[in-house]
Symmetry: none
Subunit: 242 residues, 4 copies
Amino acid sequence: MTAAAPAPRGRAASRGRIDKRQAILDAAFTVFANRGYAGACMEEIAEVAGVAKHTVYNHLGDKESLFHAAMEAAGSAVMAENLALAEQLTVDQSAVASTAGGQADPVRTRLEDVGRLLLHQCCDPRSWALRRLLHAEITRFPDLLEAVWGRGADRLRQTLADRMARLSLAGLLRPCDPVEAAEQFLALLTGPMEARSQLGTRPVPDAERELVAHAAVSTFLRAYRDAAPGASPSPSSLPATA
Amino acid sequence: MTAAAPAPRGRAASRGRIDKRQAILDAAFTVFANRGYAGACMEEIAEVAGVAKHTVYNHLGDKESLFHAAMEAAGSAVMAENLALAEQLTVDQSAVASTAGGQADPVRTRLEDVGRLLLHQCCDPRSWALRRLLHAEITRFPDLLEAVWGRGADRLRQTLADRMARLSLAGLLRPCDPVEAAEQFLALLTGPMEARSQLGTRPVPDAERELVAHAAVSTFLRAYRDAAPGASPSPSSLPATA
Amino acid sequence: MTAAAPAPRGRAASRGRIDKRQAILDAAFTVFANRGYAGACMEEIAEVAGVAKHTVYNHLGDKESLFHAAMEAAGSAVMAENLALAEQLTVDQSAVASTAGGQADPVRTRLEDVGRLLLHQCCDPRSWALRRLLHAEITRFPDLLEAVWGRGADRLRQTLADRMARLSLAGLLRPCDPVEAAEQFLALLTGPMEARSQLGTRPVPDAERELVAHAAVSTFLRAYRDAAPGASPSPSSLPATA
Amino acid sequence: MTAAAPAPRGRAASRGRIDKRQAILDAAFTVFANRGYAGACMEEIAEVAGVAKHTVYNHLGDKESLFHAAMEAAGSAVMAENLALAEQLTVDQSAVASTAGGQADPVRTRLEDVGRLLLHQCCDPRSWALRRLLHAEITRFPDLLEAVWGRGADRLRQTLADRMARLSLAGLLRPCDPVEAAEQFLALLTGPMEARSQLGTRPVPDAERELVAHAAVSTFLRAYRDAAPGASPSPSSLPATA
DNA sequence: TATGAATGAGGGTTCATTCAT
DNA sequence: TATGAATGAACCCTCATTCAT
């Protein structure tokens, strides 16, 4: 204090800055999630972050900028986890061969694993909070969609579609529009959770989540692998989002 | 009406009250939808409703009560429409018989009709606004769920499940858990719309909506009717929500 | 209702009016006492009185008029009781004669009786409420003093002074300024109650009130009857209030 | 002040805060005294204090807290002055001795001095405003009594009682209950002022106040010193408040 | 006369933002 | 850069009063 080592500079200083910035972003997301955008107040955010009110302004500008930054940060984190999961949807060819004719069903197993994990992510409180905030503020901040989910409306669906295409090519799924398959796979997984978790308000037990994942995969496989070949040809091979 | 009485009295007076109350509720829902709960201000609601600020308080109490009432009113309207639709999911036995062996597929036709209409309802701006507000405020007003969707978690799913059960019983669908079938039918229908309409922000063209409905029904029928009988038996025949 | 005896008129009707007016005045005083002038609201007064809000306006005009009327009514009632008591302060000459030389002390007895009763009145909740409201609003409504205590600042003191003069003339008290005597008698009685009842907030037990009355009379008699004649002559024979 | 430093720092800064806080408290008391609690508005207080409205909230919280703080501050000031005065009620023994047999009456002189000064304090506009506010709000804020008069119901009476006890012990007053003596001394002094000053509304001329003080002391001395020893023994030698 | 609906004004409180240190 | 004080605008709500029946 008195003798004053001139306060750590260089790396340490900017590390301090970075940490403080991150602390503010985390605090902001928490508070926004609890109170909503309009209901949140900068003072509480500063308090939760452990800094002075004006420091928030110094680091991240006004309330709107702060909101965008916090949402973007949270979105990146959530999306990164989801993408990492989607990329795991691969089936080892050798595994398929070795179990031919047997009871094991490596495609189903893989789909269920990935489905279970995706559902786990989607039911994460932070993930729900993000989606709720998105719903809440999308009309006032339409840019939020891109900011949160990254450029390209939905990378998750595209990534999943890539995997579906490869499964289809490998003969593990019937020929199909991979984007549609990805879209419906996600719908079968996450659709039922909205009501079951009461919009993320109710913690859903693991068992229930696994039940949903299992049912989703079963229906998906019936439709995309086991269905009688000639039945109900789907003419929709157009790009999904137009 | 016809005789043109010189300003209606008695009943008409209370009719005036009712009209005013309804005008306030409508205005409130509009403003809440535009600004969010915290962002909405009573003055604007009164303005839009064409009454004085205090009149809002006289009729519907404070902001929170008004919000609940407006949400409940909107929810009842939306839910009533949805239920009416779901109840249309019936297949005339004679129609099935008369087309046996032919090309027509009455079950598919009916499902697509209902699906298209449900999707139409779900993409209605008011319906989206309601869901967005629900997402936005569910953490602060957990009672909203029941208030909006009526008592019983989700009557729509149950009503749909009733119809599924009858279809299954009639041999038009394979034996299955009707609740799960309803749940997945809804998921296949509405799930894809979230991303496609950008959380209700983007108006979805009719053609695209019909494409989604068609794809949903195709996948649903493959899984719940056409699938090879022995394939992938789903052990989950329990009621879905426990 | 239907056949309509044409509603009672004449005496009965105006009786109804009077009753309603009195009910409003009573309700007003109660509410003003509970909430203060500014804190009271017309609606609550109307509610307590059991009439519609506007009826209050019809009968007693706006808030300020109502306040004055309610205070005046309460003041008249309280003052009437006090005056009736003060007038009881007489000593029967024969009683004095008959007990001469004995133990009984009719003057003391009479003073204590009157004192006890005055104190009882002063500690009445309504009396305290009146005084508190007077203190509260005197700066904003200086006319209240006269309105409440009747014309002539303090008839109580004057009435008491009359009695004191007669006692003094009868030789039952030493020669003195009767107004000063009355003033000090009242001060000795009521002064101690302010602190003891916590400004009328605490109910004072009967025993404590009697103690105060007894002490007041004792001190009063020592000073105005028993004191050594030559001691401490009081030169103040001027009119008290100037 | 003299050296004219270019705007004082450090201590001066917090001094500025203190000054501002005090300015707000003073302004608040003034406005509350003028308008009453409910009638006062924060805006006027801020205006009178010369600060922005929100600054009032920063320093002293909401209206109720501000009211308590302002009342407590005013109460402390008034009570401190009163106590200082009461403590002056001592009689120098030598003075008594030296004037024995003469005309001078040091006890009376001292009592009149103290009485005159106490009366002066009690008639101070601030003192009246404080008492009026206390009367006005005691039912809604019962804690105010202790907050204003400090802990211990009434330190003034106790302090005065201490002095009375010493005078009695010194033989300058007859044996008596000192608390009762103090209570009655105060009653004789202040009781008459209520009516005479019209609850503090009318400025009482010095001469009139001195008259009251003189009369009070005369009556007090007659009762507590000059009265015939055997006359009217007061049995109440218990502590007054129990 | 009595009522219930309606109004416009005003007050307490909160908040995002800026200033001075 | 970080802070704490200060600000002015805005919002929810209450209230005294009037209008139409």
